[in-house]
Symmetry: C2
Subunit: 209 residues, 2 copies
């Protein structure tokens, strides 16, 4: 069975997407060809516009159409806190919680010497310089709780361990590891459970300080 | 949480695909923006090429880049058998089995009066005319085994019930309904089981005719 060249080419293009195999690609192609040619043209135009128009924010390195992204240029965000994450998707996830009002710094990956990803590629020197030269009170290391994410967090922690920064009162924190909300202890893996015990927090009454 | 306009627009375009929600659309957008801009541009070009270049075969109405599709113009296909299906995806599915050597006719849907889909929209008159004027021996009705697909098959059967066609020896058949290969009787629905009993076939020995 051979698809005609244009259909095959479009299927191949869709197959570059993560999690899209032959069957899904065929369904996508047929959807646009049979039912929504207008949508296919719109997707093409949106792709070109985004590929050409979206770059990285020069301050925090998240995806942005402008030189400085909306978060970095927002007048009411707390510029004294920087949350360091691996990808723009993490920024979206944290922004969705609507509970964080500080700034971000996106590494665009994690340290991975085997793949040739060192501190420079993650712009860690740029991050350290920014922390050293601007009035930053706290750095929250929110890299993934994976081996590579932990290593990346520890590396950045080390870069921020200078006496000068300590004297300035810079706090460096790591997001809490523990039992996810709604989870059941019975089904949580041992490593997570261990972290959630070690990181236990005092339960405070209303008026207790 | 607001995405930047170009990202939002691209997400909206991906969300038009069947089965793609917010989360998948975001993953697709980020995949192209973070890791594969070249792929994004290729997808855009392939979309435009396919939307502009793929039409319907004038003979069988399947998707085709040429006026007559590869199957219809193939010298070794049996033009005396026509398999009637609902969509081009069905053509792909049957072609994948590599067991059918006849022609196709694609209805591009099924009869659905409530949605205003009548025989004309499915080009049934065109199909009937082709069967009446060309040397066709057999019409295989391979519409889906759904209420609408059955109704469409019966409607076409009725259109082909003329005395002239019967005298010419035209056979009109419906694909077999029954237990799918590899299935277990225990888990097959009653309607399918009923059809598979009613449609039972004699088991023939090698030399029996």
């Amino acid at each position: 069975m051979h698809y005609s060249p244009l259909i095959q080419q479009l299927m191949d293009a869709f197959r570059r997407l993560p999690g899209v195999g032959n069957k899904s690609a065929q369904r996508m192609v047929l959807h646009f060809l049979e039912r929504d040619r207008e949508g296919g043209r719109k997707l093409a135009a949106a792709l070109v516009a985004a590929m050409d128009g979206v770059g990285l924010c020069t301050r925090c390195r998240t995806l942005s159409e402008t030189e400085i992204c909306a978060v970095c240029s927002h007048p009411n965000r707390d510029s004294r806190t920087i949350c360091v994450v691996e990808t723009p998707a993490d920024v979206f996830a944290i922004e969705h919680t609507a509970s964080y009002r500080g700034m971000y710094f996106v590494l665009m990956g994690h340290l991975s010497p085997i793949d040739g990803v060192g501190p420079e590629k993650l712009a860690i020197p740029q991050l350290v310089k920014r922390i050293c030269t601007e009035s930053v009170d706290e750095v929250i290391l929110a890299t993934n709780p994976t081996v590579e994410g932990e290593a990346t967090a520890w590396y950045i922690r080390e870069q921020l361990s200078g006496r000068e920064l300590a004297e300035r009162g810079l706090r460096v924190s790591r997001i809490a590891h523990g039992v996810p909300m709604g989870g059941e202890l019975e089904y949580i893996d041992g490593s997570t459970l261990m972290h959630s015990l070690a990181g236990r927090q005092a339960m405070k009454y209303r008026d207790e300080s």
